[in-house]
Amino acid sequence: MSYSVTDPSPRQKWTAGTLVILYAVITLLPLLWIIATGFKSPSDAIAYPPKVIFDPTLEGYVNLFTTRTRMSPDALSALGEPATWYDRIVRQYDMVISGPSRYGERFLNSVIIGFGSTFLSVFLGTLAAYAFSRFKVPLKDDLMFFILSTRMMPPIAVAIPIFLMFRQLGLSDTHLGMILLYTGVNLSLSVWLLKGFIDEIPVEYEEAALIDGYTRFQAFTKVVLPQAATGIASTAIFCLIFSWNEYAFAVLLTSGTAQTAPPFIPTIIGVGKDWPAVAAGATLFLVPVMVFTILLRKHLLRGITFGAVRK
């Protein structure tokens, strides 16, 4: 248990609080800028000096989700009054909505690939970590080092061989290919992190379960997994953050069906310097990881084994 010998004085608390807030402001400023830009009009977004106070509009979000066509004023007036609020926004620029953009698909791709590879990394990682932690695996230390060594270079260093391999195997621009790739990259991290967590769980818990009449697998699922929840949650967060944000491989290996959001978002800009749409795309892209992290936050903080074991 940690405790302080003396309580901090009010002045110390005040100083510490100020420093933390200052640091938070500095780190959160770009984030706030992106969120704000998502609600600006294109002209406000590129205004100089930058506008801090502006009329919020959903133009960016409308542009993000739609494709639009410019029409002659004659043709527009023939269409009559715009039917919806988003039609109205688009009509200001003499345009009509011609269909949905690809952002939704790309976002869904990110979800499938990100969560798919996270699930697979954590699932395989837990099993491998359990085996390394509990059983006499021949050459255990060497294998663990080998697993770690796959992380010793930047993954992008092997981009060309992977590109060629994927082309040969027909994995280019497929969900499966991206899931396998991100799982491969994340697995070393996942095995190492989880082995640390499982090592911390006393083996007596499983033995008690074995004696209570459970099989080894039941002991694993009913005793080890609940104990390792903290570790599994934090490992999942790390894995998801990596595969969610990964850009380089995504640019190289996906272009259509399996393209994730990160390579897609910058391409929005090509159409008329539409910064608000880019910012809106980035803002929405932040949400799932944030929600996931908040959901698993209590596992990260909870010291579930505290007090149950006398060491």
């Binding site: 007596e204 033995e207 074995l210 004696i211 009449g213 459970y214 039941q218």
Partner: protein, 365 residues
């Protein structure tokens, strides 16, 4: 409840032999102690009985059934761990109920059993508490509850009091023994504490370096140790050893320690060469004149008795004397050894020589 039979059980971890061909029997309803220093193989033996380790060779029978190669889950035994191993993600009730659920017992019936066990152990009021934050004694009781709730063939306990404070250990050991007497369950209890073993056990196995040194009731083991290790490990202070050189034949009733002749229980076997004269501290009487001569080097006051440290021609001795006896450090005095309590050992093999005193105890095991 059941008898447990250990026959020539052996366990090797790679090239290391943890247990060498051990054999002993635990009778139905016995409180049985596995005693030895750390690393002697006592815990490995217990884990083999539990099925947490499988023996390299040999047989383990529980209630007549050969379980040597069966997994723990099929042996119907209960195990109490030193660190309790309570499932931290469950509360007290769930912990005790857990083994019943695995047997497929209905929840209502299981809850009734948990209540009953909680009443026996006096933990009814904490059933709904999480296990974290409970005192060591309560956690110990919960671990016991989890063991007794399913009425297994036997209880295996691995130093269950080792994690408790000294003061509380005493209390818990009485509680444990009382619980055993009420339930009459076959219990195997591992400990390195010889006092605990003597206090609580119906029978004791003393192990060292993976070998069973001796097996019997506490008093027999204390009075008639089979080896020098047992003599030294049991008793506080342990048995005194005086080394001498002699040639004995079957039927001798005296040995010579230097020029002093000591009476001994009549020998039942001859011996030749380096021997050891073993005598417990309380079987030495101090007098001023005559006897076996010794010089007092120090005394330790223990209330009703005192321990007198003595230097002799054959080695150092500790004698237990009434604390009223005036003993001066530095003086030389005489010692009498109770002739009925002497054990002779062969110095090379360290085994006790058979005599009229110990032949009954040592010939059976």
């Amino acid at each position: 409840m059941a008898q447990i039979l250990i026959e020539n059980v052996r366990k090797e971890f790679g090239s290391f032999t943890a247990v060498q061909s051990s054999s002993f029997t635990v009778e139905d309803g016995e409180f049985f102690m596995l005693l030895g220093p750390s690393g002697c193989g006592k815990t490995t033996t217990l884990r083999m009985i539990a099925g947490l380790e499988l023996p390299t060779s040999g047989q383990i029978r529980i209630g007549g059934e050969d379980v040597s190669q069966k997994p723990a889950s099929q042996r119907d035994i209960a195990f109490v761990f030193q660190m309790f191993a309570l499932y931290p993600h469950m509360n007290v009730r769930q912990n005790i109920r857990y083994p019943l659920i695995s047997q497929g017992m209905k929840r209502r019936e299981a809850n009734a059993r948990v209540e009953e066990v909680a009443r026996i152990l006096g933990i009814t009021d904490i059933l709904n508490r999480p296990v974290g934050g409970l005192s060591g004694g309560d956690r110990q009781r919960i671990a016991l509850g989890r063991a007794i709730v399913r009425d297994p063939k036997c209880f295996l306990m691995d130093e269950p009091l080792g994690a408790l404070d000294a003061e509380f250990r005493e209390h818990m050991s009485h509680e444990l023994r009382a619980l055993h007497d009420r339930m009459g369950a076959t219990t195997i209890y591992v400990t390195h504490d010889q006092l605990e073993a003597m206090q609580m056990g119906d029978k004791i196995v003393v192990m060292n370096h993976g070998v069973v040194e001796q097996f019997g009731v506490p008093q027999q083991i204390y009075d008639w140790p089979a080896t020098m290790f047992v003599a030294d490990f049991i008793g506080s202070p342990p048995m005194n050893f005086l080394r001498f050189h002699a040639s004995l034949s079957h039927g001798d009733t005296h040995v010579g320690l230097g020029d002093h002749r000591c009476e001994i229980p009549q020998t039942r076997q001859g011996a030749n060469g380096d021997l050891v004269f073993g005598i417990r501290p309380e079987h030495i009487r101090i007098r001023t004149e005559g006897g076996y001569r010794a010089r007092v080097t120090a005394t330790e006051y223990l209330g009703t008795t005192q321990i007198v440290m003595l230097d002799t021609a054959h080695g150092t001795l500790k004698a237990r004397a009434p604390s009223g006896d005036p003993v001066q450090t530095g003086t030389t005095l005489g010692l009498d050894f109770d002739p009925r309590a002497v054990t002779l050992f062969d110095a090379k093999s360290t085994r006790a020589l058979l005599s009229a005193g110990n032949e009954e105890v040592l010939s059976h095991g």
